[in-house]
């Protein structure tokens, strides 16, 4: 309180009046009649949060992922054989999974049959990922059970 409110009154940090007012406005959420007042600070909170998230998500999860796949595709032709093979598998799995997830409509034409094979392969790649996720989740729950029993036995019972 001392660090946050005193600079406001002594004039050291006059801009702190902005979050102060917004904070008071946010409290109006509990009064049904004046709840609309709180919508302004909440809109600001959501806007800031969304802006920050989208900015970082695009740079990391979309552009970063694309760059990583392109880099790994380039690494297929260089380096030791096991890592080249690993990169090849990863790139094929990513591309076929993307094909499966994005092109969900029925395809007609001369390429429909090979395209369907690719989609089926992508489906299995996706299922493999799901399998890894589920397997890891089971490992997690099993480990948490161990930690709970470990604590029960060692900390509480002192064995």
């Amino acid at each position: 309180m001392r660090d946050r409110f005193m600079p406001l009154f002594t004039g050291q940090k006059p801009l702190m009046v902005v979050p102060f007012i917004l904070g008071i406005m946010a409290c109006f959420i509990v009064y049904r009649k004046y709840a609309w007042v709180a919508s302004f600070p909440y809109a600001l909170f959501i806007g800031v949060g969304t802006g920050l998230s989208v900015r970082a998500m695009v740079a990391t999860d979309i552009v970063g992922n694309l760059k990583a796949v392109i880099r790994e595709a380039g690494d297929i032709v260089v380096g030791p054989m096991p890592s080249r093979l690993g990169n090849l598998v990863r790139v094929i799995f990513i591309i076929t999974t993307m094909i499966y997830l994005f092109f969900t409509l029925f395809h007609k034409g001369p390429l429909s049959k090979p395209f369907r094979y690719l989609m089926t392969f992508g489906k299995y790649c996706f299922l493999a990922y799901m399998g890894i996720s589920v397997g890891n989740a089971i490992m997690q729950i099993s480990g948490l059970c161990t930690s709970a029993i470990n604590r029960l036995i060692r900390t509480w019972l002192g064995l």
Partner: protein
Amino acid sequence: MVEIPELKSQHIWVVILCVYIFTSVYPIGVPFRMSEATLKAYNFIDSLPPGSIVIMGGSGVFAFDLESSAAMIAAIKHMARKGLRLVALPLGTEAVQFQKYCIDTARVDEKYGGPWKYGVDYAVLPYIPGGSAAVVSFLTDVHALVSTDVMGNPISKLPIFEDLHDYRDIALWTCPHWGFWIVRYVTGERGIPMIGFAQAAAYALYSVYMMIYPDKVWLTNGFLGGAQYEKLVGIKGLGHAAMDSYSLISIFVVFFVILGNLRLLSSIKEEEEVIE
């Protein structure tokens, strides 16, 4: 011919429980492979110069984060041995208790005979709400975001904060949690290396960040990663106990699957004989 008894689920659970208790009381130390990512994470912490500031940022639900604690505790021990400094930044409501638990369990404070002194070598900040906004603010200006530690001491009076002002003072960010979104701001925007002590279920989801930022982001995989880090540090903790139970239970699961299938086959045969 020996008749296979009917396999009731209660029997399976009792056996599984016995295995959990047995491995907790008598750790058998099953062998496991060292992961390259864990080794790289260990080597990176090892290469940091003494006095470097590490942030333990993130964590949310204590019950789930307990899995991350295996590697986090071992890493804190490692940091203390190397003379690094640690600032705990709780970004979840239960994170304060969890991060304090990790530091206390690592026994690195001088009151436990460890090398760290509170305020000088490590500090715990209060819960900071806001998620992404809190992380971005912390990286921009630590002193503007937070004014006291979790016990109410002004951070201006804690020596560790004399050297921590913004992201440029941070040598490494560690995240003992499921939500690894922090990497977007810490590594993606500020270029700070990051080690995530991920939970097993999160590992499959977030390991892609190791591809996006090779040699800047490393993840350990749940209790297995914890056991690996414990092995590198030379301790046997929760990670080792969990690995013992994983391995033994996996053997029993295979055994029960075979037994269940044999029982099913024999019951089909019995039914066929009855029909005839």
